[in-house]
Each structure stands twice: as structure tokens, then as C-alpha cells.
Amino acid sequence: MEDERSFSDICGGRLALQRRYYSPSCREFCLSCPRLSLRSLTAVTCAVWLAAYGLFTLCENSMILSAAIFITLLGLLGYLHFVKIDQETLLIIDSLGIQMTSSYASGKESTTFIEMSKVKDVVINEAIYMQKVIYYLCILLKDPVEPHGISQVVPVFQSAKPRLDCLIEVYRSCQEILAHQKATPASP
């Protein structure tokens, strides 16, 4: 079962949330971030090239121009491969764990899997981000030493940064699955 809805992130950009219900014990949420805008790309390239041309007129060395082209290309490739995240996915599987995948614009995917035995809870937290107060969804991990303690807080959808309405949808679904987990104790 699959459906798609449109939300907005904290800066007002459009986000698309795709929900897939594979089975009662497995759900996937896929958030697509706004794409790289042509306007900002053109602006940055023009700025770099104008600066290089300015230096060229001062120094009369043509290496500066080729260096500027090289830097722009490398910078764009690096940005696409290491910085620009296209899609963030959260896959929650009952009694196995929670998996978070970030797909970059160049196609690279980076995945983190947290086993269900380490997950204490999934909550929505408030944070102060620059001049705003935002909400974010995070996974609380159990502390191996202290039974009621929390060893780590893992935020989810860090680069998409959706607003509260989107987070509530995801939160409700996750809690349904985690409720199964808490209902059936670990050892039979």
C-alpha cells in the first residue's frame, strides 16, 4: 500500500512524503527534499568566475581562469556527492530494527541500521535552531548500563527538516509498530 502527500519543511520548501505499508510489521517513509535550484547554481558559478576574471586582469596569468573552472567543477561534484541529499528514507521493521537511508544527488547512499533491542523509543523533540524553535523526530537508544537511561539520541530526517504535521504522521506509524514490540516480550 503506497500513498504520497505533500508537506513543507521549516524554511517553506516543498517536501513529498511517500508512505509504503509493506505489512503490519514493516513500514517505510520516504521524504524527498527540494532539488538543487538552477538559480543558485548559476549565481555561485557566475560569482566564482567573475572573481577569477578580476584576479586575471590584475595578474595577467591565465592559469587563474583554468583553476577557476577546475575549482567550480570539483566543487559541484563534491557538493553533489557529499552534501546534497535528495531523499531520506526511514524503514521500520518490527522486531528487527529501524533503518535510515540518505540518498545523495550523485546516487550515493548512506545507510544506518539500529537494532530493535537498542531502541528505547521514538519521540518528537523541540530544539532551538538558529533563530527558530523547530520540532524533530528522534530515536532514543537504550543505555546498556542503566536500564532507565538513554545513551544516545539519533535525529531522523536531518537534512529534510519537515514540519510538525509531517512528523506527527511518521510518529504515529512508528508508535503503532513499537507498540507490538512492547506488547510481546522478548523471551517466550
Partner: protein, 581 residues
């Protein structure tokens, strides 16, 4: 809890049979290791399982049945398979089936004992997780789970979560030894290795490696014994050896070679990786060193270097002379105390003159020395770099001397000033109590003290300026040496074998797992594909980094500034076992 069945991808196309593997009750998961085909005799299957259990201490059982048939196949097979549940009793009994040529899977788990009802897992709640047996067998999880206790038998309480799957597969290697072409009593289907390619050279190398290692280990122990003999502990030699970074580097290399050629087999995977990393690092070092050697000897670089060395040293000395003349005049418009200025300036100029004469004395021998030193590059690039660093240290020895003189003078001055300042205020340093106490001085003590204090204060700018200039020069030399040491450290400690493994066989170094949901038909079980998530490069370097020489700067920036201000001497690298001055 949802029942998870870990099924190897290599068995997906196998014929019908029995599922053999391990059941983990705490996580309600069944790890299938192999499929036993018909015909078989139940007693022989049980014997095989017992054999494997003894060899590997993994509790294997028959977990259920696997049915791979056509859509219109006979129903008799189905009944037969159900009957098998009576022979091999196991709770819960798994029944996996797949349509031949189709994509329809079905998965059932039944509990014979216990009340049927909501507690029994029904069809919706069985998850099939496919895994690549070969990759899981060969991979190593980081951080390494606690090693299971080999004496605990079926205990294995150390591994948790998915590490149990990795552990089970890795320890059941005894089960995978049978080949599909073997004619044994029981036919198994599991991961088959494609066989090792036989090569005469590889076999010969394997046979020869034992005695060669033993011989080299003997030679190395001989070398280390001679280097540790009493002759080298005598004072002048031990002092020089501790100051030269070549000796440190050679010692480090000797330790590494001893590690590689030791006749003991590596026990843990970490030790094996360490050995491999050290071997690759030494090989790279020697290769780079030989390349440098061929370049040096090829184009007569040694001759050119030797010819250029003395003029360069002369040029540096001349520049220093100009600098001293400048200091003796009015440097940067500051007005110095003429008498002290002239004294210090002349003292340093004479020292410089001695140094230049020494260099000129040595100049005929330089080429030959350089040629012999260049030969040492065949021991490795790091050795050549350390020799370069030592040559720089020797050639700039006069700068070091100037720095020491300037620093000592400045330090004395600062000590005197601080003590006389206390006298000026009527206080005294109590050595017993390590604190400042008030003290009543006589009038003549106060008078002379104040006089000396004034003299020292007015002479402070001159001494401070000399100190500043020579400290800057010394710091420059130290920076150059530091960069060379950094490069040496990089070559020494980079784990190249691990990086290569991560590049070419990423499944060997696993940071974790990742899951992908496969096509889901309505009414069928949920199917997931478990893949290995490789370790990121940064963590590979961090985990497998080799220990380096240990010649690191020990000061933080704050303590460095403090030492510079008070004129204490700074020794940028402390060799092992050196005393603080």
C-alpha cells in the same frame, strides 16, 4: 515476536528438502545454513549434525522443510514433508515453499505443543530475510562483538542481535566443507566455494615460507641482539643515538620486521590485519626508497647536491651575519643598549665564523658521505627522510646554539627580574613553603637590589630582541623538521592493506547490515534482503592504524607560549626515555 527466518540466497534454487540450521529463541529467529536433499536416512542426518556440533560447537538442528516444486506438482510431496515433522521434532516447525519458475513464496511456522491461538505465529508474522552466505561468512563486524566463550558450548551469550547470524555462519564452516560432487550419505545444498586455483608458484611459496620465515626471524633476532649489546649503552653513543631520528626509525622498522617474520600464526583477525598492514607498509616504503635511490644515482643528483650544499650553507651563514649586523645597529628603529648589543653581536659573529670554517673543512668529504648516505634509501623512504631530517638538524646546529644562548640569557634575566621585583615590593620567595612571603630587608640590601633591578630592566629590550629573533629562526627549523616527521609518520602508520580491502572487498569489513524490502505479494510473507554495510574509510584508518614512532610534539599551545615567554628551552620531540631538562 515476529519469527524471522534467515535464508541463504544460494539455496533459493535448490530442490526440496529439509532445512538445517540454528534456532535462536531469544530473538525468535531461525538461521538456515543448508538444505538436505532427498533421499536421506534420518539417522545419518542426525549423525552429521552431531558431528558438526562437535567440530564447531554450534547447536544445529533440523528447522523445517523446504519445498521447491511446480505449481501443478503432486500433493504427495506436501504430505510427505508434513510427515517429516514427526521424525525431526522442533519447535516451531518451519515450512517454506516456493513455486518453481514463479515468484510465489509461502512461509508457515507451526507450534505443536502449547495452546494454539493468538500466541502462535500465523502466516502474516513470519519474515524471510535473505542473506549472501559467502559474504556473511567472510565478513567481520566492527566493533567486534565480545568473543564467544569456546568452552561454553551452546552458550554464546556474547553475541547479540544480528551478530548472532554472523557468528553462526562463521563458526559453521565445518558444515560447508562438503562439496556438491561428493558422494556422501547426505546431500547438502549451501554455499560452495569455487575451489582454489592451483598454481605451482603459490604452492612453492607456501612451502618455502615456513623455513624462510624461520631463517629471517633468526637473522633479525641476531641484529636486535647486537644493537642491544652493552657497547651501545656507553655514554656518547647512547646520547647520539637518542638524538638522531634515524636510529629511532631503524628500531621501529626492526620491530615491524620481527613481527612480520615471526613464526607464530596470527590468532585473531585483528592480529592478521596488523601483520598484513605492516607488510604492505614495509613493501611500499622499500619500493619508494628504491625509486628515490634510482633517481638520485641516475642523473648524478648526488654530485649536484654535494656541489650545491656548501654554497647553500655559506649563503645561510652570510644571511645570518647580515642579520646580526642589523641587530647590532638600530633594528626596526629600536634603540638598543650599545655596549651589550656589541658584546652579544660579536660573540655570535665569532661563533658563526667558527661554524663556516668547520663547513669549509668538511667540504671535500661531503660528496662521498652523501653517496653512502644515499645508499641507505634502499632500506626505505622513511629512513631516507629521517636522515634528511638529521642532516637539517646538523647543518642548522649553529641556529640551535644561538637559540640556546639567547634563551639562557633571557631566562636568567627574567629570573633575576622577578626576584628583584619581589625585593622591590618587600617580599621573598620561600623555598621551603613554595610561596611568596613578606620579608624585611636592610636598607643597603634594598638599595643594591633596586639598582640591579633598574639595570636589568633597561637591558631587557636588547636581550629580548636577540631572544625573539633566534627563537623565530629555531621555530622555523623545527617546523621544517616537523613536516618531514609528519610525512614519515604517515607512511609508517597508514593501514594500506585495510584500505585496499575496503576498496576491493568491501564486505570483509562490515560496520553493520542494511535491509531492502523485496517485492511483496499479497498473502505472502514479507521478504527482505540483508546486505553488508561496509565500514567508512575514516573508521577503517582509525581502527587499523599502526602505532607510529612516538616522536610527537608533547606541548599544548598554551604551555608552549608560556615556555617561550619565560625563556625555558623547548624540545619539540621527546624521544622515548629522555629526561626533561
Amino acid at each position: 515476536m515476529v519469527l524471522k527466518a534467515f535464508f541463504p540466497t544460494c539455496c533459493m534454487s535448490a530442490d526440496s528438502g529439509l532445512l538445517v540450521g540454528r534456532w535462536v529463541p531469544e530473538q525468535s529467529s531461525a538461521v538456515v545454513l543448508a538444505v538436505v536433499h532427498f533421499p536421506f536416512i534420518p539417522v545419518q542426518v542426525k549423525e552429521l549434525l552431531a558431528q558438526v556440533h562437535q567440530a564447531s560447537r554450534v547447536g544445529l538442528t533440523v528447522l523445517g522443510t523446504w519445498c521447491h516444486r511446480r505449481q501443478d506438482a503432486e500433493e504427495g510431496l506436501g504430505h510427505f514433508l508434513e510427515g517429516l515433522g514427526a521424525i525431526f521434532s522442533h519447535e516451531p516447525w518451519l515450512q517454506l515453499s516456493r513455486e518453481r519458475g514463479g515468484k510465489l513464496w509461502s512461509c508457515k511456522a507451526t507450534c505443536r505443543q502449547g495452546p494454539p491461538g493468538p500466541a502462535a505465529p500465523d502466516e502474516d508474522q513470519v519474515m524471510l530475510v535473505f542473506y549472501d552466505q559467502r559474504k556473511v561468512l567472510l565478513s567481520q563486524l566492527h566493533p567486534a562483538a565480545a568473543l564467544p566463550d569456546h568452552q561454553a558450548g551452546d552458550g554464546m551469550a556474547g553475541a547479540e542481535g544480528l551478530a548472532v547470524v554472523f557468528d553462526t555462519v562463521a563458526r559453521s564452516e565445518a558444515l560447508f566443507r562438503s562439496d556438491r560432487f561428493d558422494d556422501g550419505p547426505v546431500r547438502l545444498s549451501h554455499w560452495q566455494s569455487e575451489g582454489v586455483e592451483a598454481s605451482i608458484l603459490a604452492e612453492l611459496a607456501k612451502r618455502a615460507s615456513g623455513p624462510v620465515c624461520a631463517l629471517l626471524a633468526c637473522l633479525l633476532s641476531l641484529v636486535s641482539a647486537t644493537s642491544a649489546c652493552r657497547l651501545f649503552q656507553l655514554w656518547p653513543l647512547s646520547f647520539i643515538c637518542s638524538k638522531l631520528s634515524v636510529c629511532e626509525q631503524l628500531r621501529h622498522r626492526l620491530e615491524q620486521l620481527t613481527l612480520i617474520f615471526s613464526t607464530q600464526k596470527a590468532e585473531t583477525p585483528a592480529q592478521l590485519m596488523r601483520k598484513a598492514n605492516v607488510l604492505v607498509s614495509v613493501l611500499l616504503d622499500v619500493t619508494l626508497g628504491l625509486a628515490l635511490l634510482s633517481w638520485l644515482h641516475g642523473k648524478d643528483c648526488i654530485g649536484q647536491l654535494a656541489e650545491a650544499l656548501v654554497p647553500v650553507a655559506d649563503h645561510v651563514a652570510e644571511e645570518l651575519q647580515h642579520l646580526l649586523q642589523w641587530l647590532m645597529g638600530a633594528p626596526a628603529g629600536l634603540k638598543m643598549n650599545r655596549a651589550l648589543d656589541q658584546v652579544l653581536g660579536r660573540f655570535f659573529l665569532y661563533h658563526l665564523h667558527l661554524w663556516i670554517s668547520y663547513i669549509h673543512l668538511m667540504s671535500p668529504f661531503i660528496e662521498r658521505i652523501l653517496w653512502h648516505v644515499g645508499l641507505s634509501a634502499c632500506l626505505g623512504l622513511t629512513v631516507a627522510l629521517s636522515i634528511l631530517s638529521d642532516i637539517i638538524a646538523l647543518l642548522t646546529f649553529h641556529i640551535y646554539c644561538f637559540y640556546v644562548y639567547g634563551a639562557r640569557l633571557y631566562c636568567l634575566k627574567i629570573c633575576g627580574l622577578s626576584s628583584l621585583w619581589r625585593l622591590f615590593r618587600g617580599k621573598k620567595w620561600n623555598v621551603l613553603r613554595q610561596r611568596v612571603d613578606s620579608c624585611s630587608y636592610d636598607l643597603d640590601q634594598l638599595f643594591i637590589g633596586t639598582l640591579l633591578f633598574t639595570i636589568l630592566v633597561f637591558l631587557l629590550p636588547t636581550t629580548a630582541l636577540y631572544y625573539l629573533v633566534f627563537t623565530l629562526l629555531r621555530l622555523l627549523v623545527v617546523t621544517v623538521q616537523g613536516l618531514i616527521h609528519l610525512l614519515m609518520d604517515l607512511i609508517n602508520s597508514l593501514p594500506l592493506y585495510s584500505l585496499g580491502l575496503r576498496l576491493c572487498r568491501p564486505y570483509r569489513l562490515a560496520a553493520g547490515v542494511k535491509f531492502r524490502v523485496l517485492e511483496h505479494e499479497a498473502g505472502g510473507p514479507l521478504r527482505l534482503l540483508m546486505q553488508i554495510n561496509p565500514l567508512p574509510y575514516g573508521r577503517v584508518v582509525h581502527t587499523y592504524r599502526l602505532p607510529s614512532c612516538g616522536c610527537h610534539p608533547r606541548h599544548s599551545w598554551g604551555s608552549l607560549c608560556r615556555k617561550l615567554f619565560f625563556g625555558e628551552l623547548i624540545y619539540p620531540w621527546r624521544q622515548r626515555g629522555d629526561k626533561q631538562d
